[in-house]
């Protein structure tokens, strides 16, 4: 099992993985481009762990021990001793490929390099690295604290040993791994896509309105949230970006085509809850306006 891992990127997922790792007694080398971002991340982890003390889930001593396992870094070569490095930066293939190129040059050739990408090709991210059999995907779901699934993505050349070691890590941090092939959307995002794309089609064809579709999906379908309130929550722009990525990576598979209404909404600034207007309108407290 990995005694020390590196995490590149202190966004929500990167910070969340760091928190899970230190709670599982794994040392973390946490990297980002500047100290401000790193400080923000460690403050967030500390605050989350303190909440767990208040809930009786941790002792103050355990919080201290966990925080002491985090070393912050602003230089990628400082991750050189790590046997497992997880990249968690913005969803941009050029940025990710560049990071992997640097990691490849500055880390052990046997270190496993994994990306938390939700939609980009692992094979593509890891192309042109030494030993691509050690490159994989480790797709966590939001919110990372409560979502137990992790998709372990095998690229075209990823070997079984890499996948098995990642599976062991995921199990250790208390999540449920499933192994998937490197295809657009992997499994969860791809197979769940019709929930949103068909709902958009139904709306566009005036079969029912957004509120009705949400109500039907929740009450009859048993889903915890309707597709339109979910898209408002995720952000219409994020929804469109993900659907567009799936569509492009599948070379235009008609089943995965985004609906034009999403583009119109994004261009109009209707991004969902974050702009108080999406498929529904929201008041200042983010509650749906009736």
């Amino acid at each position: 099992m990995f005694k020390q891992i590196g995490i590149v990127g202190t966004g929500t997922i990167g910070t969340g993985i760091a928190q899970l790792a230190v709670l599982s007694k794994i040392d973390v080398q946490l990297y980002d481009v500047n100290d401000t971002l790193l400080r923000r991340s460690t403050v967030r982890i500390n605050a989350n762990l303190r909440k767990m003390v208040n809930l009786g889930k941790l002792t103050p001593e355990e919080v201290q021990a966990s925080m002491e396992r985090i070393r912050t870094r602003t230089s990628l070569p400082d991750l050189g001793h790590c046997d497992f490095i997880i990249e968690s930066v913005i969803e941009d293939i050029r940025v990710k490929k560049d990071i992997f190129k640097h990691l490849d040059a500055n880390t052990k050739s046997t270190a496993i390099l994994a990306s938390t990408t939700s939609s980009l090709s692992i094979t593509s991210i890891g192309a042109n690295t030494r030993n691509p059999e050690r490159i994989a995907g480790v797709h966590f779901f939001y919110p990372i604290e409560t979502s137990s699934l992790v998709e372990v993505v095998k690229g075209f050349k990823t070997n079984n040993e890499t996948a098995e070691r990642i599976i062991a890590f995921v199990n250790l941090i208390g999540k449920t791994p499933i192994v998937v092939k490197d295809t657009p959307g992997f499994i969860a995002n791809r197979v769940s896509q019709p929930l949103y794309s068909e709902s958009l089609r139904l709306l566009g064809e005036n079969v029912a309105n957004a509120e009705q579709i949400d109500r039907i999906v929740k009450i009859i379908g048993g889903f915890p949230a309707g597709p339109f309130e979910s898209m408002d929550q995720m952000g219409i722009d994020a929804t469109l970006a993900e659907m567009q990525s799936l569509f492009e990576q599948s070379y235009g598979e008609p089943r995965l085509r985004p609906h034009p209404i999403l583009k119109q909404m994004v261009e109009s600034g209707w991004l969902g809850k974050k702009t108080n207007k999406g498929f529904f309108s929201y008041d200042e407290t983010n509650d749906k306006e009736l």
């Binding site: 197979v191 009450i219 889903f223």
Partner: protein
């Protein structure tokens, strides 16, 4: 559109008696604790297990239920409620019929034509309209006004809401009766446009279809796909669990109808799904 004002059916009288209908005829609420009226007779026909599921629910809510199937089920069905009568003859004084065929549209048409020739013009017909629109079904009847479509798939009966699709011929009176009937069996209605697949069946069957493509491409195992959807994106059931509950033949029937109706590549059916649907008993 000519409005057909028919004699108020027994369903509406029973349900009205049961409901708090004030002197203006406005329904205020559905009352509790009233003693049951005399059983109203319902005839249900179509495919298994839909017929058994609806028969149980209706019988449980005090209806006098008669049923038949297009084809006898391979295994003798067991009912939770006694008193459900199996018959091929539509009994006299039937107040409502429910047609539950999605797969064999020829059989559905025969059933509806039989209702048309046997029942009084005031007897409402509630017919599953996920694979053929309610409007098209109405065209098979001389009494077009009395048919309303609804979304019937195995497993949806347990839910407290049902999708209803009135046709262009459905007067308010027919819709009111249907609404009262569904309320009497513990369900609210959601009125949607009369389209193949309606809302939830279309969404669920597309999800199942996408999963079938994923299996064909060897992306993950069926169990892992179910796990991924439940744990990753909080689906109540995985797509293969859903397919088991709905039945692959039903899923295939909905997707086929969508593909034919919309003529779009996005509704192309996964070959694996087609194969499994054809080989399942």
């Amino acid at each position: 559109m000519k409005t057909n004002k028919k004699k108020t059916s027994k369903i509406s009288k029973r349900a009205a008696k049961k409901s708090n209908v004030n002197k203006k005829g406005t329904e205020t609420s559905f009352p509790k604790g009233q003693s049951k009226p005399a059983p109203v007779r319902i005839f249900i026909t179509g495919e298994s297990p839909l017929v058994e599921q609806y028969a149980d629910v209706c019988s449980e809510h005090g209806y006098d239920v008669y049923i038949s199937w297009n084809e006898m089920p391979a295994q003798k069905p067991e009912f939770n409620n006694h008193g459900i009568k199996i018959t091929n003859i539509i009994p006299a004084n039937t107040s409502l019929v429910i047609e539950l065929t999605n797969i064999d549209i020829f059989a559905k048409k025969k059933n509806l034509e039989r209702f048309d020739s046997t029942l009084t013009m005031s007897t409402p017909i509630i017919s599953s309209s996920v694979t053929v629109t309610a409007t098209e079904q109405s065209l098979w009847l001389s009494g077009k006004h009395r048919l309303v479509g609804f979304a019937a798939l195995p497993m949806l009966i347990q839910k407290p809401l049902v999708e209803i699709a009135p046709t262009v011929y459905s007067p308010k009176e027919t819709l009111d009766v249907i609404k009262l009937f569904f309320r009497s069996i513990g369900k609210e209605i959601e009125i949607v446009q009369d389209r193949i697949g309606m809302v939830l069946p279309r969404i669920l069957c597309r999800i199942i279809n996408e999963s079938a493509f994923a299996i064909t491409e060897d992306i993950a195992s069926p169990q892992d796909i179910d796990t991924a959807l439940k744990l990753g994106v909080k689906f109540p059931l995985g797509p293969f669990e859903l397919a088991e509950q709905i039945g692959l033949k039903q899923v295939y029937a909905v997707l086929s109808a969508l593909h034919t109706d919309l003529q779009e590549e996005r509704y192309r059916i996964a070959p694996l799904l087609k194969q499994l649907a054809m080989t399942r008993v």
